[in-house]
Subunit: 459 residues, 2 copies
């Protein structure tokens, strides 16, 4: 019994540790909330403040608990929604209260009741509008809440204005503490999170394509000893998270729009455009899902047809992977994506033509194999999906180029080499073991250092 | 200016009308919230109640605004979370307060501060656990809120217990009003919504497959006059909503687990299993997405190869569509899916064999066409994806059969015809124009009537 309990406790402890290790920002966030709450307790503990605000100090506590969210954008969105909703509803509530008093002692409850019903019902209905739901849902909730509270309690409490003033002041104070702590202490920006998740999604697609060629054609050389060694193939599954990325990306983009300038992202950074890139990435992931179905362990000798496809197909996958990695790097470093990604895309398209040419002349070379069309259909399907994937990567590339124009990415312009004499040159290679490609992006030290300061580069 | 304003107003009015027409439950929900709020206002207006509860009546108003959600499950989940969180935190808060007073006038704020920090931080961290996030997120929020309020204000207010008692009573009253109204007046069940959305998603997949055969092979017969007539092809796009259905289904399943028995759904209805069916439906949708890429208007004469594929491929799509529709109907009527869906799946699989056989013997029949492998690749890909789709439909069918066992669906057993002499028989055909299939499910009147009473049948 005691051992069981101990095991259980160990298990929970391991889970907590893993959760913290997966994203240390979670631990920091929890501490931030604790600090903010302890700070607003001062409204109660500290006599000078208590004398100023009175029992309304409790509203600062409520505000902190309710609006402090994980990302800055969400906190700002909730804070602004809460203040706006409170103020609008307060004003309206006072107005309605005044109207109700005009109708006399008897009529007052009825007038108030009718107003509460009408306003609550129509505000609730407005929450079904997609535009309002996405950005102002919480504000409308607070509006209904405050309006009912003000109009209902106004019926009893006459020192309404003093109370409203105190309450609003403490709410603003609580909100300000949240927003300041959330921005100043290790901020978690929704925009940056969206930015990084788009990058990592594109990388995951690239990793799949990079590994696919080897996996699909590998039986041809060394099937015996490699099938037993169960090496890590998680990169072939990682892309699956891209399939269901829509809802998270949507909400991040919504929060990001509330965020002030941070890092390399201006206030009007085209966050909405990330959603377009995200949807092209999903498109590509759907095709990869179709491709993945063809990655079954093949035990018999590969057909002549598959061997014929091997070289162009491997080029298509590896060049598409390189193009995707170049796009991811371009978003990461916020530099013009055109040069390197276009290069790889062109190579991939040339490989498609090679593939098509060998298919065109297939029968003359391999008359014995072709007699059975059925046998070549799986391989033909893979070839066809690969051709579609290059198209998807092209779409994605165009979307990234559009983003680079909208967000004014730095260009890796050909004029820059004139500066060479003034700085030191060093090849810019990230994760050397991952990138065995032949291209090297040359950047001048000054620009590179600048990049390293960006929070977007920290993972 | 005046006209512009009028146009704008008209536009908004149209939007409101459309929103209400799309789902009239939205209007009813808004009215329900209005009624609930007006009811709790009684706590304030009605003197006997006010004398009992005092200013705490405001907590009933807050509770109604905050926990009244669109579905019964969400309302119950929030209500239970709120009560549990409040009670736990209240008890803990009193305990901590007691501990703090032991440490003397000077030490009290520090002890309280430390406890607030520790408990708020660790509770905030617990919200990152996926299991807690999914089901108890709101409860933990309320726990932090109440705990801070109790421990902080306990420092000033001594009549704590009376207040806690009043507050809890009004919260429970407010919660009870919400839950009763939400269950009694036109309830929107999360479970039923999930059930219906799974059915309609499977139907959307079926509609695509049903239409695909005609679309893909149609140029062969009547390309001239049909390409110009832009007939409604929305059924070819409807499946796209299935691609991103995961997040909605997940949250509905979570809410459904809080719901009591309703309609045909028992308290322990296997809602989690719907998620499995949903994920197979998405799998199928991904393949359809790949298929959809091949639906380009083809202007040249179809190849001999495509004409050879036509009959078996059309059988595969139409039989898969029928199998899917049978599965959807089976979930809808909660009857055993095996007989009819298995029949169509078997026919589809036979068609796959036909297709394979004609491919095997392809070269002997069409020597002139085969010389260009490139030309047949798109068609071969379609054939291959169709074969994969049948596999997906089979997976889906197995998942539905599993559901039918877990949820104890009624069986359309072969013994039933013994009852024939006691009742009237009539063929059970829904939407006759849609279902031109050859199978007929025979049900005995008694059972059929029973089905018609189910809310699940109302769309």
């Amino acid at each position: 019994m005691g051992i069981e309990l101990k095991n259980k406790a160990m298990e929970v402890a391991m889970k907590i540790k893993k959760l913290g290790q997966d994203d240390p920002r979670r631990i920091i966030h929890s501490i931030k909330v604790g600090v903010a709450l302890t700070l607003v307790s001062l409204f109660y503990y500290w006599r000078p403040l208590y004398d100023g605000f009175g029992a309304s100090g409790i509203w600062a506590v409520i505000t902190v608990v309710v609006i402090f969210e994980f990302t800055v954008g969400a906190t700002l969105s909730k804070g602004l929604n809460r203040s706006l909703g409170t103020m609008l509803a307060g004003a309206l509530g006072v107005g309605v209260d005044y109207l109700a008093t005009l109708s006399g002692q008897k009529g007052e409850p009825f007038v108030l009741g009718i107003f509460v019903f009408l306003i609550a019902a129509s505000a609730t209905f407005s929450r079904f509008f997609p535009g309002i739901k996405a950005r102002y849902d919480y504000g409308v909730l607070i509006f209904i809440l405050t309006f009912s509270m003000v109009s209902v309690s106004g019926y009893r409490v006459d020192e309404f204005l003093t109370m409203a003033h105190q309450r609003l002041a403490t709410i603003l104070a609580g909100g300000a503490i949240c927003i300041i702590i959330s921005i100043v202490v290790c901020p978690v920006w929704a925009g940056e999170t969206l930015h990084n998740s788009i990058i990592s999604n594109i990388d995951k697609l690239a990793n799949f394509l990079e590994g696919f060629g080897g996996e699909y054609f590998h039986c041809s050389e060394d099937e015996q000893h490699d099938i037993s060694t169960d090496k890590d193939k998680s990169f072939l599954q990682a892309y699956k998270v891209v399939l269901n990325s829509k809802s998270v990306e949507d909400s991040m983009a919504n929060f990001a729009r509330w965020e002030p300038r941070h890092g390399n992202f201006g206030f009007r950074h085209p966050w909405k455009h990330y959603l377009k890139i995200g949807s092209f990435a999903r498109q590509c992931a759907y095709q990869i899902e179709a491709l993945n179905a063809h990655l079954r362990p093949q035990l018999q000798e590969p057909s002549q047809f598959r061997r014929m496809m091997e070289v162009p197909c491997k080029t298509i996958t590896s060049e598409s992977a390189k193009a995707l990695k170049a796009l991811a790097t371009s978003i990461k470093t916020m530099t013009d994506p055109s040069p390197s990604s276009q290069l790889h895309l062109t190579t991939a398209k040339t490989a498609i033509n090679d593939l098509k040419n060998s298919l065109k002349s297939a029968t003359t070379h391999m008359s014995e194999d072709i007699s059975n069309l059925l046998a070549i259909i799986p391989d033909a399907t893979v070839a066809s999906i690969l051709i579609d994937i290059v198209k998807s990567v092209e779409d994605l590339s165009e979307a990234v180029i559009e983003l680079s124009l909208k967000a004014k990415f730095k260009s890796v312009s050909p004029e820059k080499p004139q500066l060479l004499h003034k700085g030191t040159i060093k090849p810019f290679v990230e994760d050397e073991d991952e990138q065995s490609e032949s291209h090297v992006v040359i950047t001048v030290r000054g620009i590179e250092n600048n990049n390293e300061d960006l929070p977007v580069n920290k993972k």
